[in-house]
Symmetry: D2
Subunit: 351 residues, 4 copies
């Protein structure tokens, strides 16, 4: 029972087999093959408009290069206090943007609070050279806390970005999980809301290494070929990233995989809530579950070989965890099985 | 007949199948899986010493992070005028080293001339703050010109680097091709000569995306975990790079693949030399062939669907190419077949 | 009556005349003149130990290069939420450190709260590659809020830095003002407390352009000559910075100038507190005064030609300012006169 | 007799006195004072058009920020092999441009050869992502070799830059010396020729620290306020740089000072040529003189206290210096006297 992270899973069989199938033969290198083109067209279909797509190898690369594409000297990006870009990427965004700064903005439930965002941006009046200047707002969908911005909430953030003349980026490392949880479309969750640039993650949802940077306005991606190459993210055999996306985006596979992961998380949520061994730390609807377990329940699960991470208690929830309890994070994926879920619930109940 | 570059090939079947096989199950992320460890051990065997190994996704990343690992403010790296790091990586080395500078050093046959290197380094006397300071010498084996440094030649460069107290890096994008051409061992071609850091390329020789940065002295790699993560080169499902290397380095597969590629190049060399349609531009022993063809011969090959690149005439060989001739580069790979070679030779002969 | 900032003042006559006097003749360039050496020796005296001193042109340069001297890939610096380095330097620290990150740490009164610092550093366990790694703690003395760390408070911050094996930097843009307010010595306020690197500011206190970076352990400054040159901060006629310091540090001039500025601020504090036109926003002991004035009092002062800045209400003091009031900052300097002070007090009283 | 460099001189009395005069009183900080504005207007007059002017502290800053203002990811700047930006600035241009690359272009007499420039730029076809992309051509006037581009020669370089859609920058560390040597106007030597950005140096010609970055098209300087602040080059008491320029540019003082320096160099040139102790290494018309002296003559001058630098023999003049000879550089300045010149000539003649 592996709930440590969705990136502990391997690759979905259909995707792995597509890689094998595409391994024969020759093709033009550096992203110029027919397969690269075909998959780029598939992105146009999915987003219901002509977009510019750039394949990269990691989520950190996707996010960092998204920010790099809008970087200017003295630039400041606004993100949630717990956003992956500022907490988990070892300064990669700062490096690739040429030393732009990330300003953390608080907000409950892992989401940027619009009023806090207004206050944060408000500290950068136009022309205030000492402070620097806003260049982008970035949100994460689904968030690091497992929550999901509603379409209305995205609208509010987007309106704020627009009011300050900066683009809106979405870190979609778990884009598909958010999409199926909201039951909406890629277009509705992005450009129709005002999202300009998207990190479209596929690695956590069944690929082994496939991330795409999607520019809703291709004009805005003018510098990206150079930004990507200089970032060492232009793969010579780029068509193998394309091949993964080709299988991933085929029919509704990517959505089905996300639905499965979310359903497995639903099972965990229901099982934990119904148990006497703990409770949900807070409500989530994605493939991430945060649970407050009795220590003995957590230990029992660990003894059965379950992998999960202890999680730091959020600063705004100081009384969340009792003295004999522990806060843990459980993440499901396309590879999680119903028996993984039921075995885990059984293990904590038996404690 | 694809001779455009070895990275137009796909993945070798044994490697592609290993990827498929490893796609099931779960494993610890970010380079900490058992398979990552196993392959790291394999590198120790191959290099006959304990080395530090870091998997990355592209050759540009390997080279750039090698230089980053020795970067210091005001640092200057010395490379051949035509080295990939300075000519073909869009400033990635400059970016990842925090703005170190690459000083081009001339030399015939794509190899750094030791006397020119001495002169170049000599312009940086210790403490000369305006000029900056030497931090590394980097050579390419096999070179961009298809040539191969002999062990003695590496010794001479290494002695120069040592005399100036800077480490020696080897860009081994075509490491295996050079190794089998020289008929030597990885240890002999690297640390026994004085090479401190190696970009160990596998993508061009049968993997789809597998590059490793090898530090002969693991102590010198102290900062590398942070350098790699910050460079967006720490793959969450790193074990898929490991899986490629696992199959690649199994028994002598990697050497066999390189031997095959070199043999195919030998076939091209022999066929061209024996034809009336052209001649070798200069002698090479790796999987790169540079040929001066009659224009009609080149066009005939192209008409048959052959892919290759026209090549700029080297500055030190101004009279190499006649008025009705063209200089081209042909690159073979593990995937090149004998009929590719014979068809090409037949095509140019028929012109 | 100019209270906008201490850097609206000119240069003290003794310093300006020294510049004139040193303008004749020739001297070795780039910081190697006899005068440069003499002043460096003076720093040794002042700090009661052998220190390494580097003259630079701006306070932003001093702070940024201090951080650059300890930068490592993935590095994270800890500063107060309102520190000049993170709020007022347009990303210069990020640029010069090669994209290190500044983590803001809260604390009342403009000072880092030791417990908050412990919590902030605690989020970076050793080897946690995703998060990055602590490289330095930086405090400001006197702070942006006009407060001054006591020697005990510096001890507590220094202990925390030591416990996490990172150096402690002090931004001393108003070093002299803090020093005379505490009535202590440079040695006591710095290295005897555990301060490793000091930005020693003189511009705000009577020079026109003289900042020094002081390394308490000269060994730690090994890379600084290159860091400074690369930052475009090595002045060819460096002796003119030296000349300013020479006059500034002569006998106790620098302390006298700071005492004067602080005394003028005392006058403002006393006058405001005794008036019916406003009150002190909070207590300060340096040359910065924060006052809550009735709007009509502030307007009356402005009408008399007084210059000062409105100040944002601190996040932790939401009820500080009433509906008909305004928070302002007043800064005194060596050039402030007693009549400036009394005229200002008279102006607000008359409102 | 100081001929080591023009930056060994101090400040011209008229400039030093202006600094003293402006040291009293208060003025708005960070480049917004009336004096800053007045001097900016003076630049408009001098250049016969509305220009954008940014004061900075060092020549390295001026050059680096000029390049930074046109930097783009993957950018490549073209300069002469011996240009100060690439040889003497410790990587500052690379740092401030966010890791752009400087490509050295050869050319006799310290000047870029237009044909070599065409060849160098020609290696960067549009869209060639691996190579990067041209962003600027930079020339030095007067050059590091003491030579001066004629107006026609600037035209030719400018035409090449325009043909490749990149701006032209001029490093004018010795702008005034070149100007009076050519007997032309600032407008004629810059924007009328196609120069877009100028590093306008005054430090070497009588100021102590005054450099200006001049944009012929103010629109192109849009990002400069942030670029300069982030580079730690926005001086709080900026009016003291303005004050230096104010005195420097008053009437024809700056041209008179340069004429004097050049005339002193003429004296050296004539004296050396007429002596039996050596000869001119090559012809120059600026304030730099390169002489091949008999070793004993050089030693005799040194024994008299003369300061000058030995100079490396240019790569394209291998036979320039005989076995008992030495190549030296002599630089004159506003502060050089006729007796300095005659004493030096007497010293070498006496050897």
């Amino acid at each position: 029972m592996i709930f440590a992270s969705d990136n502990w899973a391997g690759a979905h069989p259909a995707i792995a087999e597509r890689l094998l199938k595409e391994s024969a033969g020759f093709a033009a290198a550096y992203g110029t093959s027919d397969l690269d083109r075909k998959v780029e067209d598939r992105f146009n279909e999915i987003f219901e408009r002509k977009v510019a797509v750039f394949f990269v190898g990691t989520g950190t690369a996707a996010n960092s290069l998204a920010l790099a594409s809008v970087a200017r000297p003295g630039g400041v990006a606004f993100c949630h206090t717990e956003a992956h870009v500022t907490v988990d990427e070892c300064g990669a965004p700062e490096l690739f943007t040429g030393a732009c700064r990330l300003v953390p903005v608080p907000g409950a439930d892992g989401k940027i609070d619009p009023a806090a965002l207004a206050a944060a941006i408000g500290r950068f009046p136009p022309g205030a050279v000492h402070q620097g200047r806003p260049i982008v707002v970035t949100i994460t969908q689904a968030t690091e806390s497992g929550s999901i911005y509603s379409l209305d909430e995205i609208d509010r953030i987007a309106a704020m970005a627009r009011a300050h003349h900066v683009p809106l980026h979405m870190d979609g490392a778990r884009f598909a999980n958010a999409l199926v949880a909201l039951g909406t479309t890629p277009a509705e969750m992005t450009w129709k809301r005002g999202v300009d640039i998207l990190s479209f993650g596929a690695t956590k949802n069944g690929c082994w290494c496939a991330e795409a940077l999607v520019f809703m306005n291709p004009e805005a991606a003018r510098d990206m070929p150079f930004i990507r190459k200089r970032a060492a993210q232009l793969f010579s055999k780029s068509r193998f990233i394309a091949a993964q996306f080709d299988a991933y985006l085929e029919q509704d596979r990517w959505l089905d995989l996300a639905r499965h992961a979310n359903a497995m998380a639903d099972g965990l949520r229901a099982g934990i809530a119904a148990s006497n061994s703990g409770r949900l730390g807070w409500d989530t609807h994605s493939n991430e579950v945060f649970a407050v377990l009795k220590k003995e329940a957590a230990e029992a699960a660990t003894a059965k070989g379950t992998k999960f991470y202890d999680w730091p208690i959020p600063a705004d929830m100081p009384g969340l965890v009792g003295p004999d309890e522990v806060l843990i994070r459980l993440v499901t994926s396309f590879a999680t099985t119903e028996s993984d879920v039921s075995d885990f619930i059984a293990a904590i109940k038996a404690a």
